[in-house]
């Protein structure tokens, strides 16, 4: 039999056996609804947790030069940015107060940070241009505090022995996770200066251990191991693994349970259908159907209502998930549909093999 003939025949057989077809459709739909509305919620929760944990804030590794001994040099920042596990690397100095030069001593101070490395890695330019030496950017939030209507003018470092001024050449909003920079001014650090904090944004929180080891190796053998401190997302990565693992194992148990019960029910329905229609199958064998024809026919004949049930089940499950506010990812739903179809197909194989190997003569001679 050609595939086209098998499909046509299976469709006709499925249509002829309306009750078993409806039951297979119903069971598969129930399998999908149950798994998508329960395991799907777990998957949605897992994805939300993973997204939060994978946000750049949770992927940040910070090395602090506790005694400001100039340990975090330009070269270390530059070398760190070349590591494959690191998305962004930038050094920040300790914040210093600056005031609007046009207002003078009575102006409201805002913090200013020296940036070593690419300013674009900490700030998104909103107006103007990136600063050069002696120039600075002001955050859109700090503009009002400084009494500026537009990002033009100049600021002066407050309480400095020697006045240091920066011309404002633009405004910015800080990039995640540098939200602290939202309230002040940033400027390019002088060449040869060092940073107080080295901020490293990792590609993935799970790479924290590798990144930490690599970055610390750049400092060599420190005379005082207490001179630097490290704030690492290592714990976050472990938490991520634990949460994903717990949710995953819970979800898998539910999934296997639903698929197992569903498969068993489909097998029972198909087996009962075969027993009822055993004369039909015996006649097919007598008229020239091979054993593989019978198995394939039963398989496709089971899959046709199962496909209908799986699609209905997916829509139903998604409907329930939407109503509870935990929509699972589409890939998960598609996976459930495929798993349900595989389960239904696999569970029809044993009854189909039984039908294919039944003695057609005995079947035909049984009244």
């Amino acid at each position: 039999m050609t595939l086209k003939m098998l499909l046509r025949e299976a469709l006709a057989t499925a249509w002829a056996s309306k009750v078993p077809s409806a039951l297979v459709c119903l069971i598969t739909a129930a399998m999908c609804i149950m798994t998508i509305s329960t395991v799907g919620r777990t998957a949605a929760a897992e994805e939300q947790v993973a997204q939060r944990i994978d946000s750049s804030g949770a992927r940040q590794l910070v090395v602090t030069d506790k005694k400001a001994d100039g340990l975090i040099s330009e070269s270390i920042i530059s070398m760190a940015s070349n590591f494959s596990v690191i998305e962004r690397s930038v050094g920040l100095g300790s914040p210093t107060d600056v005031k609007n030069l046009a207002i003078g001593e009575g102006a409201t101070p805002v913090p200013a940070w020296a940036v070593i490395g690419d300013i674009g890695s900490v700030a998104q330019l909103e107006a103007g241009r990136y600063p050069g030496p002696g120039e600075a950017l002001v955050s859109t939030q700090a503009l009002r505090k400084l009494g500026m209507q537009y990002p033009v003018g100049a600021v002066r470092i407050a309480n400095a022995d020697i006045p240091v001024d920066f011309a404002i050449v633009g405004s910015y909003t800080p990039r995640d996770p540098f939200t602290d920079l939202d309230q002040g001014v940033i400027y390019e650090a002088q060449s040869g200066s060092s940073a107080t904090n080295l901020h490293l944004i990792l590609n993935d929180a799970s790479q924290a251990a590798v990144a930490q080891g690599s970055v610390l190796s750049l400092f060599g053998q420190l005379a005082d191991p207490e001179a630097i401190s490290v704030r690492s997302p290592l714990q976050m990565a472990k938490l991520h693994d634990e949460i994903v693992g717990d949710l995953g194992s819970f979800g898998k148990s539910l999934l296997y349970g639903a698929l197992g019960i569903g498969s068993l029910l489909v097998a029972v329905v198909v087996f009962a259908d075969i027993l009822v229609r055993r004369k039909d199958l015996g006649r097919r064998r007598a008229l020239g159907a091979t054993r593989s024809d019978i198995v394939t026919l039963m398989l496709i004949r089971t899959l046709i209502p199962a496909v209908a049930g799986a699609l209905v089940g997916m829509l139903g499950g998604l409907g329930i998930a939407v109503s509870t506010g935990s929509v699972p990812p589409f890939a998960f739903c598609l996976g459930i549909v495929i798993l349900a179809l595989l389960s239904a197909g696999a569970s029809s194989l044993v009854p189909a093999a039984y039908a294919a190997n039944a003695d057609p003569v005995k079947v035909l001679r049984t009244p």
């Binding site: 004369k279 008229l287 159907a289 054993r291 057609p360």
Partner: protein
């Protein structure tokens, strides 16, 4: 060269059961109707199923066009059944959920015949057998005699070399029985087909060209 023959044939349902056929050797004449007859339990229907390659003999061989068939793999025997053998069962065995024409073309599925060709051939056969008007009916909507003529059409659809009929007139009144036998006899003569009928009906035996008593 005979179309269908058996040599030194024996069959046992179980290892310890009595052997049937007692080393039977026989050539079934092409173009003729052969009646298999004998008392109940002598294996008339069993021989028919052995000839139809659905049962494997415990000894001996079934030949089709002088080629041994009994020991071939199941898939090969299925293909031979689809291409070269036509079955007529006692109760017609039509699928109650399908139309008459769908039942007639069923063997063409297993022989891999194109559906359009199969439908045209089925319509022609139903016309010849006088049941064309019922082609879109279900088996439950036609009489026993019509159902058996549909079963004959199904057996002839792939133009097989051999027709095997198991008590084809067992459930029919004399008029319908005569009609079915007329069709089978005429077809055997015109198509040089080998027709084998398992029966204990004296009327069928009287209509046969040859009789093989078991």
């Amino acid at each position: 060269m005979s179309i269908l023959s058996v040599r030194d044939l024996g069959f046992k349902y179980t290892k310890d059961s009595e052997e049937l056929f007692d080393g039977l050797s026989f050539q079934f004449a092409p173009g003729k109707v052969t009646a298999l007859t004998g008392p109940s339990g002598r294996g008339k229907s069993t021989l028919l199923y052995v000839l139809g390659l659905m049962l494997t003999p415990s000894r001996g061989e079934v030949f089709l066009h002088d080629q041994p068939q009994s020991s071939t793999p199941d898939a090969v025997r299925s293909k031979v059944r689809a291409d070269q053998l036509g079955f007529v069962f006692q109760d017609s065995s039509l699928d109650p959920s399908r139309t008459i024409i769908d039942s007639v073309i069923e063997p063409t599925l297993y022989a891999g015949v194109d559906r359009k060709i199969a439908m045209a051939r089925a319509e022609q056969l139903l016309e010849e057998l006088g049941v064309a008007a019922r082609s879109d009916h279900k088996p439950g909507q036609i009489s026993g005699g019509q159902a058996q003529r549909v079963a004959v059409a199904r057996a002839l659809i792939n133009n097989p070399a051999v027709i095997l009929a198991d008590e084809p007139t067992g459930n029919l009144d004399p008029t319908n029985a005569a009609g079915v036998l007329d069709i089978l006899s005429k077809d055997a003569g015109t198509q040089q087909r080998t027709v084998v009928i398992a029966t204990h009906d004296p009327y069928v035996i009287s209509r046969a060209d040859e009789v093989l008593a078991l």
